[in-house]
Amino acid sequence: MPSYVFQFGPILIRSEELIHGAWLTIWFASVSMVLGLAIGILGAVARSFGPRWLSSLVAAYVELIRNTPLLIQLYFVFFTLPFLGLKLSSSAAAILALSIHLGAYATEIMRAGIQSIPSGQIEAAKSLGLKPYKIIRHIVLLQALRAIYPALCGQFILQLLGTSIISAIAAEELTAIANNMVMQTFRSFEVYIVVAIIYFILVQAFSLLFQGFSRFFFRWKT
């Protein structure tokens, strides 16, 4: 067996490309987290307080997305929308699919949070004459968000890792750049090890950020 000499040189020379890829991954993850959370909040409110037809519709969306792979959702968005006359770039299709995907999980998580709020609080707010919008915003959502924050962060981390799949429709991010680099340098092991380490660092960084955010945001006592 020929002995193998590790060569990280050809990869480290291109570290700028990798850093660029890491930024793109952060961008895809962050944008889809914001959009996904927005969908999740709206979805959970509609599911919990909306009329019956809307609640069922949201439930169907959640079940459908949670029981099919992200890759298929991505293909569906990417290949189907042009047929409907909507030409999206692969990045736009990726953001759309990622947000719809995360939105379903966020809806389910937020719904659990809303359910955890004692109904007495809502009744108390009502008897104080608060408007429904204010009750939902100040009494229900803020507390629900705090209750499910760890679960939400876990889902966000999975989302960060999930963005690697969008390389399948040629959206440019860290994994796509890594694949490109493998083709040019033929140093597959070295490239993927370095990229795995970058993802690892990103996950730890996002976890720290989420912890810091919760300390800043959820300061009130229960």
Partner: protein, 224 residues
Amino acid sequence: MNLREFGLNEFGFLILSARWTILLSLIAFAGGGILGVVIASLRISASKPLRMIAAGYIRFFQSTPILIQLFMAYYGTAFIGLSPDPWTAAAITFSLNSAAFFGDIFRGSIEAIPNGQWEAAKALSLRFIPTLRLVIFPQALKLMLPPTVGFMVQIVKTTSVASLIGLTELARTATMINTVTFEPMLVFGTVALVYFALCWPLSLLARHLEKRLEVEGRGRAALA
């Protein structure tokens, strides 16, 4: 253009390719389950280095994308002279990856068993392994069942990623049929329904088990 239609043949071809998705899922479940027990046992063992190795293992697999792990196994093993076929690479990657998640689930369930059970077993002079096997594991089994079934759903969905190293399962069959028929809505809609048919029953079962556990827990709390 001379395109094929998405007819009964293509539909049948797509449905039949589900067997490869199921097979890969079963391999990942069995391999990951067995290795997951080992990881969980290491994770709670008395030796600190062993605990740290298991924790590092779980951390690595949970903090890197499965796609990169798969590429590493498939393309990245050439440096030790290996060139695994897609099936071998996928079977190994999915087993190792599931083991990390199962290890975490099993450890959580085992640690949820009250300390008194361990002490009682010790008082009966049971050793570590018999304590686990006879006292802790049967009780932990109930707790780990709902998340284990829930994770099976994840496994089935994640196997679609194996299509990206050329393993011909559901997702890859769908892209192949889409290339020759160019009916993306029909093809990907159908394949989504096939995945849904595989995953939904498992999701419902997981939820049912979770609810039953909750009710039992409430009953026990009421008695206590």
